[in-house]
């Protein structure tokens, strides 16, 4: 495997690994690993380090939804300017340009369904180039970004050999 990909794969799986640990695992100098990580951060290849949290396990009002948007592209700007506008809202977690029967997919998080519904009605729908919206609430998360949600696995491997 390509060395730089190896570094990124390690961090993608466990962002808490230290440069020292990574250097040992990849048989490289710590200084080189630190430099690589710094460059990746500077170039925007590595954009952040976040924990995966199952909010359903915590006493906290939380709801998320996916909203399909149909959009009239703007002259010379296509979908870029409307997408950029949507990203500015802190409630918005993700914005994707999609192929298929709609144009933009927005992932939103809020405290209640009502809050999300109002956000769509008051913020997204009124935008000039958005012609229609369709909101889908997430009922349960089974797997996200490669991580399975639910009860942590217990090691039941037999130890005979």
């Amino acid at each position: 495997m390509n060395e730089m990909n190896a570094l990124l794969n390690l961090l993608e799986n466990d962002a808490r690994l230290t440069p020292e640990q990574i250097a040992i695992m990849l048989d490289k100098e710590v200084g080189d690993i630190k430099k690589l990580i710094y460059e990746y951060e500077k170039d925007g290849v590595i954009l952040g380090y976040k924990a995966m949290i199952d909010w359903d396990k915590i006493e906290r009002e939380y709801v998320s939804a996916m909203i399909e948007l149909k959009v009239t592209p703007q002259r010379d700007k296509g979908f870029g300017s409307i997408a950029e506008k949507i990203t500015r809202y802190p409630e918005v977690q993700s914005v994707y340009l999609m192929s298929g029967s709609f144009d933009i997919l927005v992932l939103i998080e809020g405290r209640t369904m009502k809050e999300v519904a109002f956000f769509v009605a008051e913020k997204l729908s009124p935008m000039d180039s958005i012609t229609s919206t369709s909101t889908h609430f997430v009922l349960r998360k089974y797997k996200d970004r490669g991580v399975v949600y639910g009860v942590p696995e217990v090691d039941i491997r037999g130890s005979l050999v």
């Binding site: 495997m1 466990d14 040992i24 695992m25 090691d155 491997r157 005979l160 050999v161």
Partner: protein
């Protein structure tokens, strides 16, 4: 009833596995917080495409026995695989038998070769099954303790001095569980030079062949003149993370497999059919999975070796399998005492070296078939424990 008069003397006299003994300790009392580095199997799940092939075979109703030697297609694929990866050439028609794991392959090979009173040389420390299997076949295990200064390889001098007119078989378990030692072409050449002039057969247990680091595994059967005197036992457990499927194979010259075949036919009939269909998929499309898992193990190997050395253990650098074998003799404790104390006081479980033969005294086996996070936790526990008893 007095069962001691009823039960087989040979079977009754076999000592239970030392690993098992240690695990009985682990399961007694509240040990749920103990961090274990004990298992001898991958922490990966069998790749999905392989599991799917097994499931599909069930959906299609393929629930019958296969032929005794195993599905023709599977034996063809094993033959291609051995050629592709280890430059070996075996006839799928009569030189390959699919078995219930590598363990059955070892048992069959020993039973096919050994007459009562024959001596079987075993390079130690080693996986726990060889001496009892030899004893059950009426053979006499002759154990050669390999040494750290020789990187736990079997040396020609050691082999020579163990050979007697009664020697029938040499069991060569490399890549080695528990030491992680491997033997390269040059090492094997020296062994082959001694064996070529004898009628001694080799049972080469190559179950960890796909897990070598820095260099490719060499099978002794690929050396000049050695194919005719070698039996290879191997399987799918370690390379493809398929331990629970219980599937392996034994390959040897036709004169040997024809005898092995009879034992397998009457004792086992055939290996599990679902597993055989899954294994076909593994061999056809699984090379990338092997590389991926081997690279993962390699990272953890470097990590755990560096961790143990920084705690202060002299630690042989393993070149194969997924175990490290540090020297733990510097504390005035026997291996058993050290590991027991570490478990009760340090809350970390590792296997005392003596579980793999008397020559394992002074050592312990740590498996790195665990996540880096888990290994880190265990190393922290070991470090704290060592600080206390030093």
């Amino acid at each position: 009833m007095d069962y001691s008069k009823i039960l087989s003397k040979t079977a009754s006299e076999i000592k239970p596995s030392g690993i098992r003994k240690f695990f009985d300790l682990l399961s007694a009392g509240d040990m749920s917080d103990v961090v274990a580095l004990t298992v001898g199997q991958p922490d990966f799940v069998t790749p999905w495409h392989i599991r799917e092939a097994g499931i599909e075979s069930l959906e299609e109703g393929k629930t019958y026995y296969t032929s005794n030697a195993g599905l023709t297609e599977l034996r063809n694929e094993i033959s291609l695989y051995l050629n592709r990866r280890f430059n070996l050439s075996y006839n799928p028609g009569n030189e390959i038998i699919v078995t219930v794991g590598g363990s059955e392959a070892i048992d069959l090979a020993v039973r096919a070769i050994v007459n009562p009173g024959d001596e079987v040389i075993i390079a130690m420390p080693a996986f726990v099954c060889y001496p009892p299997i030899v004893s059950l076949a009426g053979g006499i295990p002759v154990l050669i303790p390999t040494k750290e200064e020789n990187e736990f390889k079997l040396t020609p001098e050691e082999l020579k001095s163990a050979i007697t007119p009664k020697t029938k078989l040499l069991i060569l378990p490399y890549p080695n569980n528990p030491t992680g030692a491997i033997m390269d072409y040059e090492d094997l050449s020296k062994i082959a030079d001694i064996l070529r002039d004898t009628d001694i057969m080799v049972l080469s247990d190559e179950i960890y062949a796909e897990l070598t680091f820095g260099q490719k595994h060499v099978s002794i059967a690929s050396l000049p003149g050695m194919r005719e005197r070698t039996i290879i036992a191997s399987g799918f457990s370690k390379a493809y993370a398929m331990t629970g499927w219980r599937l392996g194979y034994v390959v040897a010259p036709e004169q040997v497999t024809s005898v092995i075949y009879k034992i397998h036919q009457f004792a086992i009939m055939c290996a599990p059919t679902t597993s055989q269909f899954a294994a076909i998929q593994a061999l056809k499309k699984g090379d990338d999975d092997i590389e991926y898992m081997a690279e993962e193990y390699n990272r953890r190997r470097r990590y755990i070796v560096a961790g143990l050395r920084s705690i202060g253990f002299p630690c042989f650098e393993p070149k194969g399998a997924f175990y490290v074998w540090p020297n733990i003799s510097g504390f005035g404790l026997s291996s058993d005492e050290f590991c027991e104390k570490l478990m009760y006081e340090g809350r970390v479980a590792i296997v005392p070296g003596t579980a793999f033969g008397d020559c394992g005294e002074g050592y312990a086996r740590l498996s790195y078939a665990y996540s880096v996070e888990h290994i880190t936790k265990a190393l922290d526990g070991i470090e704290n424990f060592v600080k206390k008893i030093r």
